[in-house]
């Protein structure tokens, strides 16, 4: 009945791992062919794969795990999805209702453990409640600010001998849950007037635009205004990165021009962003001369860290539509003269070329060059899932995403081990697309067991490992703040041979260690369209990610290279 409900909800794929408490459900899966189940090798990977699937498609990812350790293994993935507002349904088995609370075998209080990292959760008490709860779970997970929902099901509730009359509800109504739709017209009007009267405006947009399917409208709005725009790490792809109005990513490792433009702006229009500490640097020094206009579907996101001058609660699409309409009607027109001056100033900052790459000597590959090469040979059109660390920042900086849902990374929680299973989920969603996992030798080792899953389901993920033989981001901070004392961030003597590892799992491995061979070898690897290829790119181990925000400063305070700062 559970599987039937999932099918009625439109679910095609679930990611999971069987165990005692979910055996009735697995038997039901065996006896049907409508919902495909993907067997992962660790429950954490099931959640990340479902998460990657959800980020790439916009549809909720569905996970099925057993009680106890199955459920706790899923926790990291649930937290990852929660921090980035990703719609996900996690169905966890539970011991028999009669055993709950008795410390039964593989019993854990999943509803309790997951409480702070879910949008909502359910414990199913009766079999006949299943259809209604599934409907509610999907409704809650996918509407408003999306997020993960846990459904905990005791084993006796899925016992096939407990028959009931099945009817899947068409709609759902919850008296205690409403979804904000349109923004307040008066507020939008006020925001538009301020926006049009601005002398030094900037659009600062994030993951909410992608989740809310607002990219096309955002692009229209930005082009119409002619204003500069910057995206957060989560928002990359919401506005075409190759467009001249795009200043690059902002924040801790944002471009010089994006951060300078933010700092010196007089109006900031934030859409689907949450003024995260990795963006704002010191809150009290944030954009000192700017009026803040903040659009978000979650009222709790507004004025959480930075107080908004004009708060607007609503879906990004409806608010941007209203804005476009009001701009047409408004008597205030964009001050082109001021805007020209503002662009001149921005072009000046742009000339600094803060992402300039200086080639190393002796044919050594700079990690940035590996990403540039990846961008070239995939024509900027791949789905790029990333792990967490330096490689993540390099990918965000150097892969220019022109489309939404192409950049898949754990922005909020920063979960190492996310990238590979996420790339797997993307590949399952789009079997013919190029699904790349940009990773490091540290992150990759956190979920490498999924190489087996990729073999089982023929998933030709391309893994680009920027191998610097160290936990690069940790090492960078130790270089900069701890006098180069590499406390537990290096392990070069104990790294596996990734080529042999890939081969052991039945895949192809390629090592690239010379810049002169980078393009050719990577092209060859990507030409193996139906194989998983692990591309081990040996990169300069001493490289740092720049620009980098200076702690305690404002957005204009950045370290630009090992020798230069603002």
């Amino acid at each position: 009945m559970l599987i039937r409900a999932l099918h009625d909800e439109g679910v095609e794929l679930i990611y999971g791992y069987p165990g005692g408490a979910v055996l009735h459900i697995y038997d039901a899966i065996f006896n049907q062919d409508k919902v495909e189940h993907i067997l992962v090798r660790h429950e954490q990977a099931a959640t990340h794969a479902a998460d990657g699937y959800a980020r790439a498609t916009g549809r909720p990812g569905v996970v099925l795990v057993t009680s106890g350790p199955g459920a706790t293994n899923a926790v990291t993935g649930i937290a990852t999805a929660f921090m980035d507002s990703i719609p996900m349904i996690v169905i966890s088995g539970q011991v028999d209702s009669s055993l709950i609370g008795s410390d039964g075998f593989q019993e854990t209080d999943m509803v309790g453990i997951s409480r702070p990292i879910v949008k909502h959760s359910f414990m199913v008490q009766n079999p006949e409640d299943i259809p209604n709860i599934v409907k509610k779970a999907f409704y809650i997970a996918t509407t408003g600010r999306p997020g993960p929902v846990v459904i905990d099901i005791p084993k006796d509730v899925t016992d096939p001998s407990r028959k009931f009359k099945y009817a899947y509800p068409e709609s759902v109504k919850l008296r205690s849950y409403s979804v904000p739709a349109k923004g307040h017209t008066g507020q939008i009007k006020k925001a538009v007037e301020i926006l049009l009267a601005a002398k030094r405006p900037i659009l600062y947009t994030g993951g909410g635009v992608i989740q809310g399917e607002g990219s096309a409208l955002l692009t229209e709005l930005t082009r119409k205004l002619g204003y500069p725009i910057t995206n957060t790490l989560m928002g990359l792809g919401a506005y075409p990165a190759t467009d001249k109005q795009f200043l690059g990513m902002l924040g801790m490792h944002g471009t010089y021009e994006a951060n300078m433009a933010m700092h010196f702006s007089d109006v900031v229009l934030g859409i689907g962003v949450r003024f995260d500490d990795r963006v704002t640097n010191t809150i009290s020094k944030f954009c000192p001369g700017a009026k803040i206009l903040h659009v978000d579907i979650d009222p709790a996101s507004i004025s959480k860290t930075v107080a908004a001058d004009v708060p607007i609660v609503g879906s990004v699409t409806s608010v941007i539509e209203d804005m476009l309409e009001l701009i047409k009607l408004s008597e205030t027109k964009v001050d082109r003269k001021a805007l020209d001056l503002w662009w001149k100033q921005i072009e000046g900052w742009r000339e600094k070329d803060s992402l300039k790459v200086v080639s190393a000597e002796n044919d050594v590959i700079k990690p940035q060059q590996a990403i540039q090469c990846l961008y070239e040979i995939t024509n900027g059109d791949a789905y790029v899932s990333s792990d967490v660390g330096q490689h993540q920042m390099f990918a965000a900086q150097y892969y220019k995403f022109d489309k939404p849902r192409r950049w898949i990374n754990s922005g909020g929680l920063g979960t190492m081990g996310f990238g590979f299973p996420a790339a797997m989920g993307v590949q399952l969603a789009f079997p013919d697309a190029v699904s790349v996992c940009v990773t490091g030798e540290g992150s990759f080792q956190m979920n490498l067991q999924e190489l087996a899953t990729c073999l089982q389901y023929n998933l030709p993920v391309k893994i680009v490992c920027l191998n610097n033989q160290a936990l690069g981001m940790v090492k960078q901070w130790q270089d900069m703040q701890y006098g180069g004392r590499y406390s537990h961030s290096t392990y070069s003597e104990s790294l596996p041979d990734f080529i042999k590892l890939a081969e052991a799992y039945g895949h192809v491995g390629v090592r690239i260690d010379k810049l002169s061979e980078l393009k050719q070898k990577m092209t060859e690897a990507f030409a193996l369209k139906d194989r998983l290829v692990f591309i081990d790119v040996m990169v300069d181990p001493m490289e740092h990610v720049y620009p980098m925000a200076i702690k305690g400063g404002s957005m204009k305070d950045m370290i630009l290279s090992k020798t230069e700062r603002t």
Partner: protein, 163 residues
């Protein structure tokens, strides 16, 4: 500033833990908490007193509103309101102190609800401030036990919290 937030909550298992968990998770403070079903048994009414500046209280109410089990809430301290708390207090009452405790209780319109030869059990009802004042007034007396219910309240006049 002290705020009294009154919440109508789905009367479902786990609902209370979501509210309480939110406070600890986001580092908010609960000074007191009362909860019981309302006349509609699908709803509980929960009253929390907390302390914070306007911004913090705004965040608290916004986050509470986000909880799926929270149907409606009101910050009673935003308008005129009535708040009540009940305290049961057991004190040593022997010799000369017996009369003094009785007099003080009368002044506070408290009731002595149980008596032994050496002990009074007193019930005091009022605002938290009144209960504090009573405790201060009998500070010379040996207190054996104090049980307070926490604050409950409603808005004055026609304003109501209902679905």
């Amino acid at each position: 500033m002290r705020h009294i937030i009154s919440i109508l909550l789905e009367n479902e298992p786990g609902a209370l833990s979501r509210v309480v968990g939110l406070f600890s998770q986001r580092n908010y403070n609960i000074e007191s908490l009362t909860v019981a079903p309302t006349e509609d048994h699908t709803l509980s009414r929960l009253t929390i007193t907390t302390v914070g500046d306007d911004r913090k209280i705004e965040q608290i109410t916004k986050h509470l509103n986000k909880l799926v089990d929270v149907v409606k809430l009101v910050d009673l301290t935003e308008g005129a309101h009535i708040e009540r708390e009940l305290m049961l207090i057991k004190v040593k009452a022997a010799g000369a102190q017996r009369d003094e405790v009785k007099r003080t209780a009368d002044i506070f319109r408290a009731q002595i609800v149980d008596v032994t030869s050496t002990i009074y059990s007193i019930q005091v009802v009022g605002t938290s401030a009144k209960l504090d004042a009573f405790l201060a007034a009998i500070s010379g007396i040996t207190i054996l036990e104090v049980a307070r219910t926490g604050v409950s309240g409603v808005s004055r006049g026609e304003k109501v919290l209902s679905v």
